[in-house]
Amino acid sequence: MSVTNTPTSNDGDALSLQGVTRRFGSFVAVENFNMSIKTGERRAILGSNGAGKTTLFNLVTGDLALSAGNIKIEGVESSKLPTYKRIKSGIRRTYQHALLFDGLTVRETLFLSSVGIHNRWQSFLPIKKNNKYQAEAEMLAKKAGLFSLLDALVGNLSHGQKRQLEIGIALSGDPKIILFDEPAAGLSPAERPVLTELLLSLPKTISVILIEHDMDIALETSEIVSVMHNGKHLLERTPEEIVHSDIVRDIYVGKKQ
């Protein structure tokens, strides 16, 4: 049934994973995972809780070290690079549980991600007005729908607003690949279409990988779906094929295939 367990690598790929494996003691969280993402590709990753999806993201961004395998981001061998260096290749992510600077304002947060990504964070001099990173911060706030909240403290934002801010951070600097980790989790039914729209509006120069339990959002915004089970890349299908098959349902319900 498996289709993708032969390593394929193409230097034009935005992201290429080969034999990516992570063990925690004797437990294998991600096992021999192969996947290539083409530039501009929209991919969703489905799988039950504990399938290893977030671990996979952590391996791609370097939040966790690989046990084995190989990761190329925009053609750059990144398996051993620390997180902050992988970011320079154009990879961004959002976190499943918003990981934000509660003591800073929205403006400061977006400004910091802008200077961070452009490698201009080292200055200890106060920020001048109308600096280009300030301008980018305001632009990002607009994109994320937080312009009116620029000077609000992040710790005081609502859950939905925090998720928007996560997306704003992910858009800073010229992103090439964005990993979205359950962006819809905890959003109200009214907020979900806004998220879908935002995902669809991303320019085709950006590749997107999405972990999402909301099947409507996942299938509507993706061109290709990867199914993950017990740490393995089980199969790749188009959203249509997924809708018409029992595989995903079986995995979520827990029936053995």
Partner: protein, 319 residues
């Protein structure tokens, strides 16, 4: 808050008109010096989120540098023009701060407390045992503040203004630095270190520079302290002063730079006056009880108490 600080500065700058020399030197100047020392700790706690016990060590390194490069009675060192001595002192305290940061960079919470405490005690023992640079446990004495163009910086009124200026400068440094890209990165590490890395910023240099900056501020206090005391020795970097600075920071409140100065004046007042009511010898019991009370009842310190009083008054006025 800014308006309040300016008002405070104006009041402080006219104080010498009313205050006697004893007040200027023993209460006000001393409070500002301790305040700047505590500010270096408050900065680390408020912006990086760690508690460091090494701030007195960093101040002491600046103090020893001044002593070594000034006229002293220990007969050790080389006399340099005071400007160079001051610049060297700040340089060494900043570098020492960076070193402390390098050692403690992977530690937060109680771990950073234990590690910085151990570092400061290592320095304490080192100064007691080294005679070629630190002159053992006796240290240096007979150091006086320099004269600048005929003006003796050590004269009570002049020295008070030097302290006031330094205190204001240190506070300005902290406030401005905290809103710089590096300052924001430091606060980012406090809130979510992983996220800082995920926006392209390595955390180790950020933490090290926070400690280095705190070393600069502590160094400013250390220089004033050696001019004020006219001596520096192993006792200046011992456990006593180390805990005093922590007490000052906690009493004042660690959420805002101003807390350090409020804590310092409170501490000095208790040290000077409240003690007459009990017995001079039981000062530590009094200050220990004050610390206990503050930590239990008002964890945000006097600053926090003032804030809640202000809010309560506001409520009453509005109703």
């Amino acid at each position: 808050m800014n308006r309040f600080i300016i008002l405070l500065l104006i009041i402080c700058s006219v104080l010498p008109v009313f205050a006697a020399d004893f007040w200027l030197t023993q209460i006000l100047s001393r409070s500002i010096i301790l305040g700047v020392m505590a500010l270096s700790l408050t900065f680390l706690t408020a912006y990086l989120g760690v508690v460091s016990f090494a701030q007195v060590t960093l101040a002491g390194i600046a103090g020893y540098t001044i002593a070594y490069f000034s006229a002293n009675t220990a007969g050790i060192g080389a006399e340099l023009p005071w400007v160079f001595a001051v610049l060297l002192a700040l340089f060494f305290s900043t570098i020492a701060g960076a070193l402390v940061g390098l050692i403690a960079r992977q530690s937060v919470g109680i771990y950073s407390i234990m590690i910085t405490l151990a570092i400061s005690m290592a320095f304490f023992y080192f100064t007691r045992q080294n005679y070629s640079v630190f002159n053992g446990w006796t240290g240096f004495s007979g150091i006086s503040a320099p004269s600048v163009m005929g003006l003796d910086l050590g004269a009570p009124v002049v020295f008070y203004y030097v302290c006031l200026f330094t205190g204001a400068l240190a506070t300005l440094f902290v406030v401005k630095f905290s809103s710089s890209p590096l300052g924001l990165s430091i606060q980012g590490v406090r809130d979510a270190a992983r996220r800082v890395r995920a926006i392209g910023i390595p955390t180790s240099p950020v933490i090290v520079s926070a400690y280095a900056f705190s070393g600069l501020i502590a160094g400013m206090a250390g220089i004033l302290n050696v001019w004020h005391q006219e001596r520096v020795s192993s006792f200046s970097v011992g456990l006593g002063p180390t805990i005093d600075v922590l007490i000052i920071s906690v009493i004042g409140g660690m959420r805002h730079p101003l807390g350090a100065f409020i804590g310092a004046i409170t501490y000095v007042m208790i040290d000077t006056f409240a003690i007459d009511l009990i017995s001079r010898d039981r000062f530590n019991t009094v200050i220990g009880l004050v610390l206990l009370l503050i930590v239990i009842a008002a964890p945000e310190g006097i600053l926090g108490i003032l804030k809640s009083v202000k809010e309560r008054i506001k409520k009453i006025v509005l109703n």
